[in-house]
Amino acid sequence: MTAAVRVKGAPRTGVDWFLLLLRVLLIGLIVIGLLAFIAQQIDPGNAFAKWTHDGEEASRLTWPQFRGLIVTGLSQGAMYGLIALGYSMVYGVLGFINFAHGEVFMVGAFTGFIMSTKFDEAGWWDGWIFIPVILFTILVCTLVATATAVIMERVAYRPLRGSPRLIPLITSIGVSFFIQNAVILLFGPGAKGYPPNPEWLEETIPGLGIEVKKLLVIIVAAISMAGLWYFVERTKTGKAMRAVAEDKEIASLMGIDVNRTIVTTFAVGGAMAGIAGILWGILFKSVIATTGFLPGIKAFTAAVVGGVGNLGGAMAGGVSLGGAEALAPLMLLEPLGVEGPSQLRDAVVFTLLILVLLVKPTGLFGERLSAEDRA
């Protein structure tokens, strides 16, 4: 059973009532928050706003602010989506959460840091030469991340094929812990700053009000996603992946090399995480050994929101999660009178995960899991 859903016809127990209450409460809070937000957009001095803000008027959100939030949410969401693809694919094929997938992303971001500082020393991280250089950097980050994912599979997960479900999960926690701390010890514990982006990347596109770098992130993510879609749906290897995800045994009877297909899955997922890593670096210009942890968990949430095993769902889940993370603090929590709502951004994501699992455990777009995993 996937989630907290009662079997039809079973009597309601205390737990069921509690869960029902929780669902109603969470959805109610969202509705009230949204209504309060709309009300304070129309009239910042309405009674509810005054009540929640200790008698003071609430502040209105202006259109450029709102647009800024949406673009931030989209670009972050695109990265979550890219990482989520890896979770989703691995879950689809092997049926376990690769907890260490966030670290693959971090390794990508770190590789990007090392390369970009070296290129910056050479004076290549600027002007028009930046374009071939960044393409090369993306390529290398992708390769390093892919290698990390493949080695991970070979060393830690392959020997555990067929063991109880929780064992590879615990192993992946260990892998994540190991990689994180290895990076801290190898490269030092502090945050690493990327060199400043070329000026044209920081500019805002006049008509749209979007920064070029955020647009770049969204475009690169879209291209990678399209490439992945083509790979999975239109190539022979992709077909093999889908077959293995559906049923490993039958797939191997059909002459598909299951081990090789699993490695391919890890490699492709790693590549996507690597791309997300370098994009993260360009967007936030800083990377630290723990960078992979929260985005990793959020990406997993995105995968669940979109429906595990469903690639389009993962991307859509990522984008909606990024949007929710950017918008919810100001559109839900602030109207409800929460102080410092941006501090609770991560809490919003986790609450969303719980809510989705409570209300629609198969995700917005439906799970695609193999027969044994659906059980």
């Binding site: 500082t117 929780l166 192993t171 190991f178 968990i297 102080e339 410092g340 809490a347």
Partner: protein, 691 residues
């Protein structure tokens, strides 16, 4: 006559020669790909360890106080073999040993051991050593001496923090890189050969050698502990009158300074600047080896027989004797803090706090099979609730009806902590229900992530400005009063011995509760759920309620730990409750042995005591920088090689190795699996698995 003898001699010689050539030939018939694979692994491991900074970081600790003054980095005046070098030398030994391992299946002849093992070890070591040589070469190539001040600089120092002169000096033995070029392959080769050679020895001799090596390293790195224990004990023996001060805070108070009777021995073994003297090495090695040999020859088989005899006795008798054993252990633990110094007591108190957490998680993960990654949330709830009830420095937003067990002059109310603890328990149980209910029906892996999310949510709430009026945000809650038990004394962090007793008391409760629960109806229900939830449900177990119970019991145990923690530290911050804590407790439970109380105790002692907790230092201060890396590596290694833990729970390990048991049973002809009905075989396996 003499011709015949000559003939015989000739034939014998020829035979001998051909035998010798056979041996030589056989020596080179090695599994090349395996040797190369292990060699590559060794090279990678050595390079990784070097770059991670372990050798340089641990170079400060001397193992052998010895000869050569110009080699050592952090001790220009220092002499001998440092822990840093041991961290490198260990791996050729281990991998040399490991390369000879093979899976022995019943019915297959094991490969003959011989010279080829040694050669394989040598090859592995040389390849590994070459890895270090290459690293040294790269370092030398990257090394540029600044002409102005003569300080060497490294280009790759920028991303790699340990790519520096210290590493260069250490890896080259301060003799230049050309020396390292041939010294490392030679050294690693010999060490690996020695490791492989251990397999050729007879059991008792191998055990003696390993015991001697381990004893030397242990006596050396635990010098501080040995000093502390033997020093304290020796002083007491020299001046038994000190015992009268035992219940005071300071055993030294009002007594003349005496020399410990063990001072002579300690001076003989240890050097003044730390590390063993050469005579100490020989002494410790000989004693350990001797004891091991004695053990092998005198008690051979007897221990096993005694154990079997014990197990064969009726249950009632066993219960009595184990009860007596428990009392003895308890008495020993009560007396222990009097012989140890403040630092060791502090260490034991930390171990106890994590032991409580681990025992709680053991119920959730080990018995009920629920992987709760947000376990730290209950620890936090315990800590914060105690803080709110016993600190005058709690947030101002609390209404006055929320009790505060502090008198007006800012003293703790006698017994207030106990009343607070009751409230803490209630809150923790409620949190357990609140977190447990939504996740209880989720698939195991979803549950793990969602509980992790809950753990983060709770921490973020404690941290947030929104609830700052209650929990103090990032500034936390300070001025938490200790637990005042009236005439029994007050437990505060200043007096680690008192914390130790408090922890000991609660650990004893926790151990008793876990032990009883394991054998109760509830415990059996948990184990059934762990094995197969659907089957458990079909057997009439109310899985939802049972799993909620596991959450609640685990939460209450963790909240005890949180309450003691806040009384001990005296202040509480959200940074004490990172996910890291959950994961470290998980490692403790898994390394110790899921579902086994003894295992959990052993795990906390070894990991928290020796390596240290998330922020608490352990016995090995040198490892504190690397402990998280070691925790991660341990977790992976345990899962791959020994998922049942160091001290396995018999039933749990049977479950994990079901297939192997089935195979063994099949080989012995005990099961008729019905030829090709493999699935049925699985079901039978549990029945035939030896109890």
């Amino acid at each position: 006559m003499s011709d015949i003898t000559a003939d015989v001699a000739m034939t014998e010689l020829a035979d001998g020669l051909s035998e010798a050539t056979e041996v030589v030939k056989g020596a080179f018939e090695i599994d090349r790909s395996k040797a190369v694979r292990f060699g590559g692994l060794l090279a990678l491991a050595l390079v990784f360890i070097s770059l991670v900074g372990m050798p340089v970081g641990m170079d400060g600790r001397q193992i052998l106080y010895w000869i050569n003054p110009d080699v050592y980095v952090n001790h220009p005046d220092g002499q001998g073999l440092s822990l840093g070098y041991v961290a490198l030398f260990l791996w050729p030994l281990l991998l040399g040993w490991a390369v000879g391992s093979e899976v022995v299946l019943e019915g297959m002849a094991a490969t003959k051991r011989g010279a080829h093992d040694l050669v394989t070890g040598l090859v592995v070591g040389v390849i590994g050593g070459l890895g270090v040589s290459v690293l040294t070469m790269l370092l030398a190539w990257d090394r540029e001496i600044n002409p102005e001040n003569g300080v060497p600089a490294y280009g790759m120092r920028d991303p790699l923090v340990n790519w520096n002169e210290d590493l260069y000096i250490l890896l080259t033995f301060n003799r230049g890189w050309t020396f390292a070029l041939w010294a490392w392959p030679l050294l690693a080769g010999l060490l690996a050969m020695f490791g492989a050679g251990l397999r050729l020895m007879s059991d008792p001799i191998r055990k003696a050698i390993v015991a001697a090596l381990l004893a030397i390293v242990a006596v050396s790195i635990f010098q501080f502990l040995v000093d502390d224990l033997l020093g304290g004990l020796g002083e007491t023996i020299a001046d038994p009158g000190r015992l009268s001060n035992f219940f005071g805070d300071d055993p030294d108070a009002g007594r003349p300074n005496v020399d410990s009777v063990f001072d002579g021995l300690l001076d003989f073994v240890y050097a003044k600047t730390g590390g063993l003297r050469l005579q100490g090495v020989i002494f410790v090695g000989v004693v350990a080896a001797g004891l091991s040999l004695l053990g092998s020859y005198v008690t051979r088989g007897r221990v096993k027989a005694a154990r079997q005899a014990y197990l064969d006795r009726p249950v009632a008798e066993r219960t009595t004797s184990s009860a007596i054993g428990m009392v003895v252990i308890a008495l020993a633990l009560i007396i222990l803090p009097f012989f140890t110094g403040k630092i060791v007591n502090e260490l034991l108190a930390n171990v106890g706090i994590f032991l409580l957490l681990a025992l709680g998680l053991n119920i959730v993960v080990g018995l009920a099979g629920i992987l709760d990654l947000g376990y730290v949330a209950f620890f936090a709830v315990g800590g914060y609730t105690t803080a709110v009830l016993t600190s005058a420095g709690r947030g101002e937003s609390w209404p006055s009806w929320v009790p505060l067990f502090v008198t007006d002059d800012g003293e703790a109310v006698v017994g207030g902590w106990i009343i607070a603890l009751v409230l803490v328990m209630i809150f923790a149980a409620l949190t357990g229900l609140l977190i447990g209910a939504p996740v209880i029906r989720m698939r195991g892996d979803y549950l793990a992530i969602v509980t992790l999310g809950f753990g983060e949510i709770i921490r973020l709430l404690f941290l947030s400005d929104w609830l700052k009026g209650y929990f103090g945000g990032a500034q936390g809650i300070t001025n938490i009063e200790g637990a005042d038990f009236g005439f029994l004394g007050t437990v505060t962090g200043v007096n680690p011995r008192s914390v130790f007793y408090l922890v000991l008391f609660f650990s004893a409760i926790a151990i008793y509760v876990s032990w009883r629960l394991e054998r109760s109806r509830l415990g059996r229900a948990w184990m059934a759920i762990r094995e197969d939830e659907s089957v458990a449900e079909a057997m009439g177990i109310n899985t939802v309620n049972m799993k909620l119970m596991a959450f609640v019991v685990g939460a209450v145990l963790a909240s005890f730990s949180g309450a003691i923690f806040s009384a001990k530290v005296g202040s509480i911050f959200p940074t004490s409750f990172l996910i890291l804590v959950s994961i470290i407790i998980l490692v403790v439970v898994i390394v110790g042995g899921m579902g086994n109380i003894m295992g959990v105790i052993a795990g906390s002692l070894v990991l928290i005591g020796v390596l240290g907790g998330p922020k608490q230092p352990g016995l090995l201060q040198e490892f504190s920088e690397y402990k998280l890396l070691i925790y991660g590596a341990l977790l992976i290694w345990m899962m791959l090689k020994r998922p049942e833990g160091l001290v396995p729970n018999a039933r749990r390990s049977r479950e994990l190795h079901q297939e192997e048991f089935l195979q063994d049973a099949w080989l012995k002809g005990e099961v008729d699996t019905g030829d090709d009905e493999g699935e049925e075989g699985d079901a039978v396996a549990t029945e035939v698995a030896p109890a």
